[in-house]
Symmetry: C2
Subunit: 247 residues, 2 copies
DNA sequence: CAGTGGTCTAGACCACGCG
DNA sequence: GCGTGGTCTAGACCACTGT
């Protein structure tokens, strides 16, 4: 199954990819200017830009306007661990992780009412969490908690991001069921700029709904990660006689 | 946060997107030719193609060479249910689902040895499952089972795709732990052509490792889905006193 | 200011699908 | 053969980044 590369841009992309993965071009290094590269490969600039677009989608190259094209530094380092009420993140090296948390009081509307199972307009607390690792993006989380549960759980004043990242969000009423829906899609323009990622790179979006023993939804969260940096891990344990095989 | 659309291609993409989602352009319908559209919007053809590329990444438009651009028919219909040894798929309407299963005897190499915890070169059975729904892609699965377990589980002769889709793969030794790693990435050229999807659309890739009570890996699987059609759902149940909070 | 990428133009030729 | 999209060219102008 040898690869016949018909188009020039793929041929160029393959060549540059080889140079990057082989280490001839090191992480963080700047590539020659597009005009230079186009000259080297004897193609027009649009063609060369097509090649770079391929590598950009793969997360190998990062374009910075006015500066140049760079070999992307970190690659595939974030791990999201499913089945937890915390943010569930663990980075290889937690150095230089800047996290911003913004707490807002809002009212349920649209999708949120269905997710949380509350009435339209009922009060919610929104935690908007953005974490950046150095220059590049890391994660974006929007967590919604019904207002009554917020105070009941004593969460109001202590939403430090350390708590969001490492600890459980609702410690008093233990969650029973966590349902996480995962999809891959292009980022919205907002998400692309907030995460400082290219709109060409897909994001991994996770919608997490946490219910307590009474079946009440105690938390709904929209989590967005740059697709080229995230791995989400879900572990399911089965007991010997399992009874839940609902189709 | 009103959206100011600076580039023409995004303005055109937004306009076409509105027409599609509003129903003025119906699913399956063919758009005007690129030359015509370029004329209507008073832009050059490359610019218009840029707009179509945006919609293609979003899965709204499908380009077919020599025929035209079409509004994509189905959208977001497949659901992958995690935590099962079956393929875990459930489609809204299971009509016209064509599945191809190819069984091959191979030997462990590369990543597979680590995933399965076997020695390099040890015999494996590979099940290559491709399912298509009508014209569009559905899913691609590569399932690897150690040879000795294959015969032990009595799987060899009965790998019908119905069994793969609906039933458990290894019924005799009940699996204890299923670990699923999810990531979003652009498809490989192979995957794009096999799934008949555009290489511009990201895929949702799931690597599933199933271990039995003895900790032996009884199955490893690479699952690939077109990102614009799949939702993966993972449900985690917690008992009242949980003890696993490892960082 | 010079250099860079971001966007766009107005063509060209080729490969595919269909009649 | 004809219309379609796929690819490519050789420029142009603008916006951003640094000095």
């Amino acid at each position: 199954m040898t690869e016949f590369v018909s188009s020039r841009r793929h041929a160029i992309a393959d060549d540059l990819r080889r140079r990057i993965t082989a280490g001839h071009l090191k992480p963080g290094e700047r590539l020659s200017s597009e005009a230079e590269l186009a000259c080297q490969y004897m193609v027009s600039t649009p063609t060369l830009r097509g090649a770079l677009a391929v590598l950009e989608r793969e997360g190998l190259v990062q374009k910075i306007q006015g500066k140049g094209n760079f070999v992307r530094r970190r690659f595939r380092k974030i791990t999201y661990v499913g089945g937890r009420t915390s943010l569930g993140l663990s980075t290889a090296a937690d150095t230089a992780l800047r996290v911003t948390v913004r707490k807002t009081e809002i009212r349920a509307h649209g999708h949120l009412t269905k997710l949380l199972g509350v009435l339209d307009g009922s009060p919610l607390t929104e935690y908007f969490c953005l974490s950046l690792e150095g220059e590049t993006s890391h994660s974006l989380a929007r967590v919604y908690v019904p207002r009554d549960l917020t105070s009941a759980a004593g969460l109001a004043g202590e939403c430090t991001f350390e708590g969001m990242v490492t600890g459980p969000t609702v410690p008093t009423s233990p969650p029973v069921e966590i349902r996480e829906t995962v999809c891959a899609r292009p980022p919205t323009p907002d998400e692309a700029s907030t995460l400082r990622t290219s709109s060409a790179i897909a994001v991994l979006a996770i919608t997490r709904v946490v219910a307590d023993s009474a079946g009440r939804v105690v938390e709904a969260a929209h989590l967005v990660f740059p697709g080229d940096r995230i791995d989400a891990i879900f572990t399911t344990h089965h007991v010997i006689n399992e009874r839940r095989v609902q189709g």
